[in-house]
Amino acid sequence: MVPTHYYLILSAVLFGLGAVAFVFKRNIITIFMSIELMLNAVNLAFVAFSQAFGKVEGQVFVLFVIVVAAAEAAVGLGIIILIQRNRQSLNIEKVNLLKL
Amino acid sequence: MISFLQQNAFWIITIVKIALLLFIVLTVNAYLTWFERKVVAHIQSRWGPHRVGPHGLLQPAADGLKFLFKEDPTPAGVDQFVYYLAPFLALTLSLTALAVIPFGPDPLPFKILGEQVYLWIVKSDIGLLVLFAITALSVYGIALAGWASNSKYSLLGGLRSSAQMISYELALTMSVVGVLLMANTFSLQGIIEAQNNAKWGFGALGWNVIAWTKNGLLFPQVIGFICFFTSAIAETNRAPFDLPEAESELVAGFHTEYASFKFAMFFIAEYTAMITVSCLATILFFGGWLSPFPPTSFWTFTHYIPSITLIPFGLWVIYDGIRYETIFGKLILPAVGFAMFAIGAVLLAGVRIAPLHTVNEFIQPVFWFTAKILVFLFFYVWARGTLPRLRYDQLMNVGWKLLLPVSIANVILTAGIILWRSHS
């Protein structure tokens, strides 16, 4: 059986990689995908804990996280389409009208 | 050596089963193309392939050789990785779906390497969900193929195909929920077992399509079956829902820029998906491997139905072969006919000879399963030959505005009736 902290370290590594992609990438869609990667890392931690404690509440919460991520992806991609339509570019440095 | 085999018996048997299943499925695919061409041709009052080999039976082999030797051009400006990934993905996913399909209930009557060998590769508690997961992933093969081809026709065809597939996935999944409510399990073996309690033991009545069980009439899943089969035809991009790959519309849709072997991979993926969906339709709605006749002693003559069909068919093939035009046909067809006759006779001899009796009993569920799959494959081909194509907006309207509400209504009705029955 695989010890639980192996899963948690994998979750931390994936979260870190998602954070790196979030900070360093310039394409809006790729930034959005890194958010999904971070959510997945958190899901992995939830399921690992659910197995460790022997209760299924962790897995139920994972289902809710997946549903919320789906709703967020739908609305977020709608916003991204609007940004592309208004700014003709998917570069996040061009979306800086609120910058001082 | 023997001890190594015996310790890893599970892995070795699984690998051999996978290889055998792939071989059988690819052969069935090839002859399914022959079957389709022949049936569509006869519907259209023409002959279909009848030159290559007797009755055109070697046409699939000729097609396979053609695919292997044809020139394989790669268009300029394609994204190399995605272009090569798409057909590979489509084929792999289609073939993976066959791993969870059970072909019979009992293991082989003898033990191999000390292990019982069952007629499935994976017995899973969530077999049905695995099939839905693979259906969901197979959208990628088409979407990526359309995009990677660097061509307007392909991109539009790919987008239309994948939009159609994800729309009909919803109706597909909802139409199965009625069956799940009646079977209480996701495992395919469990769903078949739940259909085993027919009224008066008369097998066909217990199937989910009629659902007349010993406990009373549950909700017959007729609407569910019609929604499922229609969504499945749309899901596999077959006629009458094949606008994205119709030749007069978008050249060839998402597989325009794919030639020879890569096109063959898409082709095999589509036909394997047809076979998988037919297997699923029989398992979910028509009792899988269950015989339509009761298991009582009066009806044991139905155990010889395989022989009763094979023996006259073999004799007819021999008769047809003797009078065939070409010499090759005069040799091959009687041989094939004789083989069929021999198999039928051997199974019939199980009346008297004990080991052949176990073989006959073992063949029974597999025969019924195969027969039902062939009926559904014939429906697929029949629909292709008969029905006109739906226009794309009509297609999307049917998917969202007709099938989805009807399948949700089916779920609500089934749940209501099951709840009412459990209360009364």
Partner: protein
């Protein structure tokens, strides 16, 4: 055959975990958004494999069907429709590159170190799988968590309406 040091479960874990990390790394390093999307699909499928390894079969299949089969398809559609090209090279502050990456490693390492402490509060798992997890999930979804479950349906409805409104063409 002698008992090997690495049990099949551990070997499967390392294969799937390696695949997940490779996919995530590829997401960071690829230039074209479609390659990043494909790498994210690889991550999701390998995570589904890990869920299966932990015995959470229903969650694994839901992950593939919903995340891998619906959300990522949406991403790929948007990338195709918006014709997102490769990333152009723009100026980057050197501080971000030289201080940011080490800080990211430091964040990950500190999270990992927290977990490795012996009294981290994570009990050793008593059993490999939770038996009948699917039944327990379904009974929990409809008994204790029925209120959040129905609320998610409203959430999805709101998201659909929002996406429809956002993606409308302007009325001339």
């Amino acid at each position: 055959m002698a008992e090997s040091l690495v049990s099949p479960a551990l070997l499967t874990f390392f294969v799937l975990a390696g695949l997940a990390v490779l996919g995530a790394g590829s997401l960071v390093l690829q230039k074209h958004p479609i390659h990043s999307a494909l790498s994210l699909i690889v991550v999701m499928v390998s995570l589904a494999g890990l869920y299966l390894l932990m015995g959470a079969e229903f969650v694994a299949m839901v992950q593939i069907i919903v995340y891998g089969g619906a959300i990522m398809v949406l991403f790929i559609f948007v990338i195709m429709l918006l014709n997102a090209g490769e990333e152009e090279h723009t100026d980057f502050s050197q501080l971000a590159k030289f201080a940011g990456l080490p800080l990211a490693f430091a964040l990950t390492a500190s999270l990992a170190a927290l977990v490795f402490k012996p009294d981290a509060g994570v009990p050793a798992a008593t059993q490999a799988f939770i038996p009948k997890a699917t039944e327990q999930i379904s009974s929990m979804l409809f008994k204790e968590f029925v209120y959040p479950f129905e609320l998610t349906s409203f959430l999805i409805l709101v998201a659909i309406m929002g996406a429809l409104v956002l993606a409308q063409r302007e009325k001339k």
